[in-house]
């Protein structure tokens, strides 16, 4: 697996200035809406604390809750499957589809199925898959992964969507009107709900005490699929468990407020048992989660409820776009999850952060995201996964910062250097910082020189 080069991919993203500017503003707008909405609830901080505690409790008793969920789901008539990894998940889904002779699948949004790369697997076996969420459908037709976990096509402008739709669903390429594009997708997708032999959803929460699961959506696509097709398959990561129904009152109150700044999603659907005469299957997926649970510094990332607030607030994510992370999960949450899948491949991601901590402050389940990013940097340095330039620069910086004498000499030399060195030398390949920025003019005196001159005391 080749390494993801986040900085290189970002530089291509930034080149398309209109796209990059819009992306930044759109996500910052979502962050603002989240702030407004959260401030309306005086108990907001209490809810975050409760959500964090409930998730930590559940994860620390996860095996028992998984068994309780399975027992109750089975009693309700749900068929429960277990998948250790992506391959077993995909095989399981395919086997269920085959048993029902299903060749067309209407699918609502699920990051887990993207993580498992299920779509290409099923497509190769002749299953026609229709992503029914508008953003996810745009990305499917354009053969790109989602760039954001809540708004999958947020990096595209309306003209891009018009171009994709004209190519694939026969819209007028010159018509960039957003209501026209959305209406075209509605009309294009409707017949598939009626003819599909199977529907698929993810789940936002799986409730142990009732053996039911909850799907939070806005478009109506998940409910159209699941309430029409004779077969409903739900893929659920094992970390989605919560103990009781009443706990939904904590998580659902924060999910859409954190994600989009709306009080609740338009539809909050509860699936407890199959409709009479139909089948409901749940696939509980591990795919690295049980291993992550054992990582002392990183297990709390499993508390994530996939709201995307950390992405919307992150200055690096907003200015580099989700696709530059080269993974299903991007932004701050991706930065701390991705290395658990493949440390070498994703070793550049923990450096895609300013460590400003804003992600941690907006996280509704209080994941210490920026602290985990810092910790990953340590792990990567220890395991010699740093690129040569960064490694050498850090080694040198370590030496210089450890010695007051070397430090003073370096600062004075740097100040002189900035003013007198030719640009070609100053903006050399080792100066990553200076690639998109001008190095500021050096002040006349260093702080130490100023202090000695004006305070006159001994240093």
């Amino acid at each position: 697996m080749s390494r993801v080069d986040h900085a290189e991919a970002s530089s291509r993203f930034i080149e398309a200035k209109d796209h990059a500017d819009f992306h930044d503003q759109r996500l910052w707008d979502l962050r603002g809406k989240r702030d407004t909405e959260s401030r309306k609830l005086p108990e907001w901080e209490a809810l975050r604390m409760l959500a964090s505690q409930i998730k930590e409790h559940t994860l620390s008793h996860l095996a028992d809750y998984l068994e309780e969920f399975e027992r109750n789901a089975k009693a309700n008539g749900i068929v429960v499957h277990w998948a250790r990894d992506a391959a077993e998940h995909n095989e399981t889904v395919y086997r269920i589809l085959q048993q029902h002779g299903a060749t067309t699948l209407v699918k609502s949004k699920s990051m887990l199925t993207d993580e498992c790369e299920m779509r290409p697997y099923l497509a190769r076996r002749g299953v026609e898959i229709i992503e029914t969420d508008l953003g996810e459908r745009i990305q499917q037709l354009d053969d790109e992964p989602p760039s954001h976990i809540v708004v999958p096509a947020v990096h595209k402008l309306r003209a891009d969507v018009a171009e994709v739709f004209a190519r694939h669903i026969g819209t007028d390429p010159g018509n960039h009107d957003v209501p026209y594009l959305a209406e075209s997708q509605r009309r294009h997708t409707r017949p598939y709900y009626l003819k599909a032999q199977a529907a698929m959803t993810g789940a936002n929460f799986a409730v142990a005490e009732t053996g039911s699961f909850v799907v939070c959506t806005n478009e109506g696509n998940a409910d159209l699929g699941a309430n029409i097709a004779p077969l409903h398959i739900a893929s659920i990561g094992i970390e989605k468990l919560i103990p009781k129904l009443e706990h939904l009152g904590v998580f659902v109150r924060m999910l859409s407020r954190s994600a989009l700044g709306s009080p609740i999603t338009q539809i909050t659907s509860h699936f407890r048992a199959p409709r009479p005469g139909t089948e409901l299957h749940v696939v509980l997926v591990d795919n690295g989660r049980s291993e992550r649970l054992g990582m002392a510094d990183f297990w709390r990332s499993l508390k994530c409820i996939r709201c995307g607030a950390c992405m919307n607030t992150c200055p690096v994510y907003r200015r580099s776009g989700g696709l530059s992370y080269g993974s299903t999960y991007s932004g701050p949450i991706g930065v701390i999850i991705d290395p658990t899948f493949d440390l070498r491949k994703y070793s550049s991601l923990p450096f895609a952060s300013t460590l400003n901590g804003s992600c941690t402050m907006v996280c509704p389940v209080k994941i210490d995201i920026h602290a985990q990013i810092m910790k990953w940097r340590e792990v990567i340095a220890q395991r010699h996964q740093l690129p040569m330039v960064k490694r050498e620069a850090m080694r040198l910086a370590g030496k210089v910062l450890a010695s007051p004498r070397l430090y003073r000499a370096a600062v004075e030399a740097a100040a002189a250097g900035i003013d007198h060195l030719p640009r070609t030398l100053l903006y050399n390949p080792f100066n990553a910082w200076g690639r998109q920025r001008e190095v500021p003019a050096a002040p006349a005196l260093t702080f130490r020189q100023w202090y000695l001159k004006h305070r006159g005391g001994k240093p």
Partner: protein
């Protein structure tokens, strides 16, 4: 398959962090405003509308959608132009313009209504028609979403939805479209249950 189940449970058990206690849930906003005004304001924020009844519920449905040719109702209070199809044939609702249903209860905090198979008859009635009209007893409005999940209905329904306004999307440039793939409008008519 049992092999995977046992392996996952063993791996989870072997890796679980030190036990963390489950906190008690306080009853937030239990005494919040449950008036129709509060409910209607919350509903309007998510694009739904509250229409006060004039005449019978059937008259009000008709007044909301005067052009509709095909109306299917799951509540005996309103006669549709066509009976509800068999639950095994949800696709038969494809050409319906207006679906009518009575909610079990509403939630003032969010403007949501609770609808399950008991209310819908055919679950797709909430999604395949172009428009949905929901009758709601003003006495059946709960203060907050937290109180909603203490309602026993969630424990017996096979399928249940808290619906809050019409279907919507903002997936293209954040432009809000009401009427994404499910219903294009959602109207709540407050009237006491018979």
């Amino acid at each position: 398959m049992t092999g995977s189940r046992e392996q996952i449970l063993a791996a989870v058990r072997g890796h679980q962090p030190a036990p963390v206690e489950l906190p008690e849930l306080p009853d937030f906003n239990a005494d919040a405003d449950t008036s129709l005004v509060a409910f209607g304001d919350a509903l309007a924020r998510l694009g739904g509308r509250l229409v006060m009844p004039e005449g019978t519920p059937a008259d009000t449905v008709r007044a909301c959608h005067p052009q509709a040719q095909v109306i299917v109702s799951a509540t005996p209070e309103v006669a549709g132009t066509r009976p509800l199809p068999d639950a095994a044939q949800p696709g038969a609702l494809d050409d319906v313009e207006v679906g009518v249903v009575r909610a079990a209860f509403g939630v003032a905090e969010t403007g949501s209504v609770y609808l399950s198979e008991a209310e819908f008859g055919v679950n797709a009635l909430g999604f395949l028609p172009q428009h949905l009209v929901v009758l709601l007893d003003p006495a059946a409005i709960l203060p907050g979403i937290q109180q909603a999940w203490r309602h026993p209905a969630f424990r017996s329904a096979r399928y249940a939805a808290l619906m809050t306004g019409p279907s919507a999307t903002a997936d293209i440039e954040g432009v809000l479209i009401r009427g994404a793939q499910g219903v294009r409008s959602l109207t709540v008519i407050p009237c006491a249950a018979p």
